[in-house]
């Protein structure tokens, strides 16, 4: 179909105001691949019509929330049509007494939170890119942040879902209740599937009450090992932390500084928050402080109020607010909690050998580590193939210990040199069969998911 005819047919579905013509599509490129058109449906029916058209014309489709995670995944095989979901931005319902709410996928997380806060509740999502992230994007990538420690990730919080399939069929999974075992748990299939099996357009989520009080203790250590010892003791105690982060030295300086803590160069930090009734917060923070001191913490800060908000926001939004240099590659490692600090050391050595500044921010209790390999001031531009090789080295090191490493974002030149996802194990054929069942023509996000799905 030529581009004018395509635009016309798309405008016939959503109106001309909600279609971007080919010449305006550059901002919607995925790994430098510019779509032929961008379309913004206003409801599920329009979304279904778009997919029917895409299916009959064999157009590949990239779902797009606000683009904060569009760097995820492999280089797309084709990008014909971007389907933007930002017009789907309503709260369908919210029943405070049930601690559940249903949102459209294009709704911004920060708007969701603002609305829920009026009822004393919140959705425990705080992924990287918090300020601009949409609900749909978070679900499609199962993206998580510090709150995961206490509340789990998107896969644990979605109780109902609505999707459009590649052929335009609208289906749902789950219900608006926190407990249901009726049929397969389809929520799990779509969450984290990077839009390759269907486009999520609505989801019902489990909410939580805002704690009466939350306070954070930041402890500084001279070595990662000392920090790890303190963390291990805290994680195995009866202290109930809301957020548990390990910050490597650059991250500690950057985000600690933003919340008013004096973080000397070379020290690493752990940040632990406790949310509860005031007396329980005080007693647990005291216990945390003592445990950190016992493991040789060189300094500690109590952070609360707006400084606390700033600290956690800086952790989620790193490196955007930090003024650090360009991030060449952003990685997510998943290891066992006891392996976090050792893995970070290894990743740091690899990055420094490449002339890059390594930064690590870790949900240490979950074993999830975000790694940033960044420019060092005044250094020469690194070679993408060397970075790809470095990623491969780190992946092998982690895989030998039973974990996994994926690239969250990198320039196409790096992605071309290393598999973004790495080995998936011996269930890949099942994933390929699922893709075949749900999207036989391979139209949804082709080539971006594991094993070339």
């Amino acid at each position: 179909m030529n581009s004018e005819r395509l635009e016309g047919r798309l405008a016939g579905i959503v109106g001309a105001d909600h279609v971007l013509a080919a010449e305006s599509c550059a901002p919607y490129a995925v790994d430098d691949r510019v779509p032929e058109a961008v379309i913004f449906p206003g409801d599920a029916q329009e979304l279904s019509e778009i997919m029917k058209l895409a299916s009959s014309e064999r157009l590949s489709v990239v779902p797009w929330g606000s683009g904060t995670k569009i760097g995820f995944g492999g280089i797309p095989a084709r990008v014909d049509l971007v389907v933007g979901l930002t017009r789907l931005k309503r709260i369908i319902d919210h029943e405070p007494g049930d601690l559940t709410a249903t949102f459209q996928a294009g709704m911004l997380l920060r708007e969701v939170q603002a609305s829920l806060h009026t009822s004393g509740q919140f959705l425990p999502f705080d992924p990287p890119g918090y300020e601009r992230a949409t609900i749909g994007g978070i679900l499609a990538t199962n993206s998580s942040g510090p709150w995961r420690h206490r509340y789990g990730s998107a896969r644990d919080l979605v109780i109902g879902i609505r999707v459009v399939h590649a052929d335009g069929t609208l289906t749902k999974g789950g219900a608006k209740v926190v407990k249901s075992v009726s049929g397969y748990d389809m929520n799990k299939l779509y969450v984290g599937s990077l839009g390759t099996l269907g486009i999520i357009f609505e989801a019902t989520l489990r909410l939580y009450p805002l704690p009466t009080v939350e306070r954070t203790w930041i402890a500084l250590f001279l070595t990662g090992e000392a920090a790890a010892c303190a963390l291990a003791q805290i994680l195995h105690s009866t202290i109930v932390c809301t957020r548990v982060e390990f910050l490597s030295s650059v991250a500690a300086q950057s985000v600690g500084g933003q919340s008013g803590c004096v973080v000397p160069a070379g020290t690493v930090a752990v940040a632990l928050s406790v949310g509860s009734v005031p007396e329980a917060v005080d007693s647990q923070i005291t216990a945390i402080r003592k445990l950190c001191h016992g493991e040789g913490a060189v300094a500690g800060f109590l952070v609360e109020g707006s400084a606390q908000d700033g600290l956690w926001k800086a952790i989620c939004d790193f490196p955007s607010a930090s003024g650090n240099g360009r991030t060449w590659v952003m990685l997510k490692a998943s290891v066992l909690p006891t392996q976090v600090v050792g893995m970070i050391h290894h990743a740091e050595t690899l990055a420094r050998n490449l002339g890059l500044e390594p930064v690590a921010i870790s949900e240490a209790g979950c074993g999830i580590v975000r790694l940033y390999w960044m420019d060092t001031p005044g250094s020469a531009e690194p070679d993408p193939i060397s970075i790809a090789t470095g990623v491969e080295d780190l992946r092998n090191w982690i895989a030998r210990r039973g974990g996994s490493l994926v690239i969250l974002s990198a320039p196409p030149a790096i992605k071309a040199g290393v598999d973004v996802w790495g080995p998936v194990g011996n269930a890949l054929f099942l994933m390929q069969k699922l893709k075949q069942q749900f999207d036989a023509q391979g139209l949804l996000n082709p080539g971006r998911f594991v094993g070339g799905i």
């Binding site: 249901s180 075992v181 998911f449």
Partner: protein
């Protein structure tokens, strides 16, 4: 099938002692915990002892085109482990080893036949436990918990089984072994571990499970409050949650259950109590002390007749005694009962329970309620006597009415027991043909032969049903209450 040859071949795989083909011994396997609606005898039961033996048994089934049903302890309550049209039951009870405990990372790897409570017992002296606690945890197996995504009183705070399962080893109907997930989180690819959990044995056989262990809380507090009517007690449930407190359990019993328990155990619930609410808090001592005070105030505000707080472990056990004996107690006030498992948003509890009462009155029989109030997970026990003309039929019809009622307020037809055989004719009330087709696509990806627990979960049609499931009318259909789609 050449039964004698198959039995011989199975015996060659697992040993003669572990193949059951004698009709007397097979009776044990003719139903699971749902003893009142459906029964069916398998041709043979085989009890493998290792993943490799499971593979060989499944390959034999594949070669001979035999349907098979994976089975744990058989404590399921929807008929999910009942044999279909003969075939093979693969019992996993012998595979009950704990393979690894990694307390430093709060993980364990176990075999599917391990009894749920045994895992907690193995780590409790080191201050840890396995959180999913179905009421049958003293008997039910972890593999069965995974297959059914089992719930339990404490999943209000800690979530159902799926929240605690990190990785699985499966044997597919083709005999292939696959590893899903592992001890670490977020394996790249589709979340097949999550998809498999709760698939009721239709996607494969679990042979290993990697689970999360939790640290025991600093303190536990258990409260029992009695109210004049179930309405007040339901409002207390919503109010506690709205206040920002998430107890570890909130369980309710209605006046019928109270009467049955009083006649049996003489617990001493106050005169005139129409509802009893059991609330448990756990966590840091300072937190639960403050929360218990708030809960007391709420209970008083809604007219609690009586409020008891356990002072020690012994008293705590006493307060739980009624709740744990509730279903058994109903056996004292009725000849038979039909246990339902609907879920509603918890704010709809007062309205839905009133309507359940209306359904009971209209049918002139008792519907007793004991349920996980915090989750909105109802367990109406429809009391009937099948010796009386037409009463079974009316009990089944009332059950169907309750399911429709749950769906009409946005709920689910099953919260923890599953679809199994019992509810396959009702699942289309909850899901459209397109929704069910998406689930069938999942099924097809895992098991295109449809030999793994056929005839369960999906509504099978007369004309285009699952090829390996012999059509057998559902009890409800035989009673003329529903037609297959």
């Amino acid at each position: 099938m050449d039964k004698r040859r198959i039995i011989r071949e199975l015996a060659a795989i697992v040993g003669r002692d572990w193949v059951i083909a004698d009709s007397g011994e097979l009776t044990v396997y003719e139903c699971d915990g749902m003893t009142y609606l459906e029964k069916a005898m398998p041709d043979v039961v085989v009890l493998p002892d290792s993943t490799e033996q499971v593979v060989e048994v499944v390959r034999l089934c594949d070669r001979e085109q035999l349907p098979f049903v994976p089975r744990g302890a058989g404590t399921g309550l929807s008929g999910g482990a009942i044999a279909v049209a003969g075939g093979v039951i693969i019992g996993l009870n012998r595979m009950n080893r704990i393979l690894e405990i990694d307390l430093a990372n709060q993980r364990a790897v176990v075999e599917p036949g391990l009894v749920n409570i045994a895992l907690t017992q193995a780590v409790q002296d080191r201050d840890h436990y396995f959180a999913p606690d179905p009421a049958s945890q003293a008997a039910s197996s972890i593999g069965g918990n995974v297959a059914e995504n089992a719930g339990g009183p404490h999943c209000l705070k800690y979530g159902t089984t799926t929240m605690h399962v990190l990785g699985l080893e499966l044997v597919l109907a083709s005999g292939e072994i696959v590893q899903l997930g592992g001890k670490t989180l977020d394996w790249p690819g589709y979340d097949l571990t999550g998809l498999f959990t709760g698939s009721e044995g239709t996607l494969g056989i679990v042979t290993k499970v990697a689970v999360r262990l939790l640290r025991q809380p600093e303190a536990v507090k258990t409260l029992l409050a009695s109210f004049r009517a179930i309405d007040e007690a339901s409002k207390v449930v919503s109010e506690i949650i709205a206040t920002g407190i998430i107890p570890s359990a909130m369980e309710m019993m209605d006046r019928h259950i109270i009467r049955a328990l009083e006649e049996w155990l003489h617990i001493g619930y106050p005169e005139g109590a129409g509802a009893v609410l059991l609330i448990e808090l756990d966590g840091p001592a300072a937190e639960i002390e403050a929360q218990a005070k708030r809960i007391e105030q709420i209970c008083v505000r809604y007219g609690a007749l009586d409020l008891r707080i356990a002072r020690d472990e012994q008293e705590r056990a006493l307060l739980w005694r009624g709740r744990k004996g509730a279903v058994a107690a109903v056996g004292r006030i009725t000849h038979e009962f039909y246990l339902q498992d609907g879920v509603v948003p918890r704010t709809k509890l007062p309205q839905v329970l009133r309507e359940v009462e209306t359904i009971a009155e209209r049918n002139a029989f008792v519907i007793a309620n004991v349920f996980h109030a915090g989750d909105g997970n109802l367990h109406p026990l429809i009391c009937f006597d099948s010796r009386r003309e037409g009463e079974l039929q009316r009990a089944l019809a009332a059950g169907a009415e309750i399911m429709r009622l749950c769906l009409s307020v946005g709920g689910s037809i099953t919260g923890e027991h599953g679809i199994g055989l019992e509810k396959i004719d009702f699942i289309p009330l909850m899901y459209s043909p397109e929704d069910l087709e998406a689930m069938r696509m999942v099924r097809a990806a895992f098991d295109s032969s449809l030999r793994c627990n056929p005839g369960k979960l999906f509504p099978t049609t007369r004309s285009c049903g699952e090829t390996n499931a012999t059509y057998r009318p559902h009890r409800i259909e035989r009673e003329g209450l529903a037609q297959r789609y």
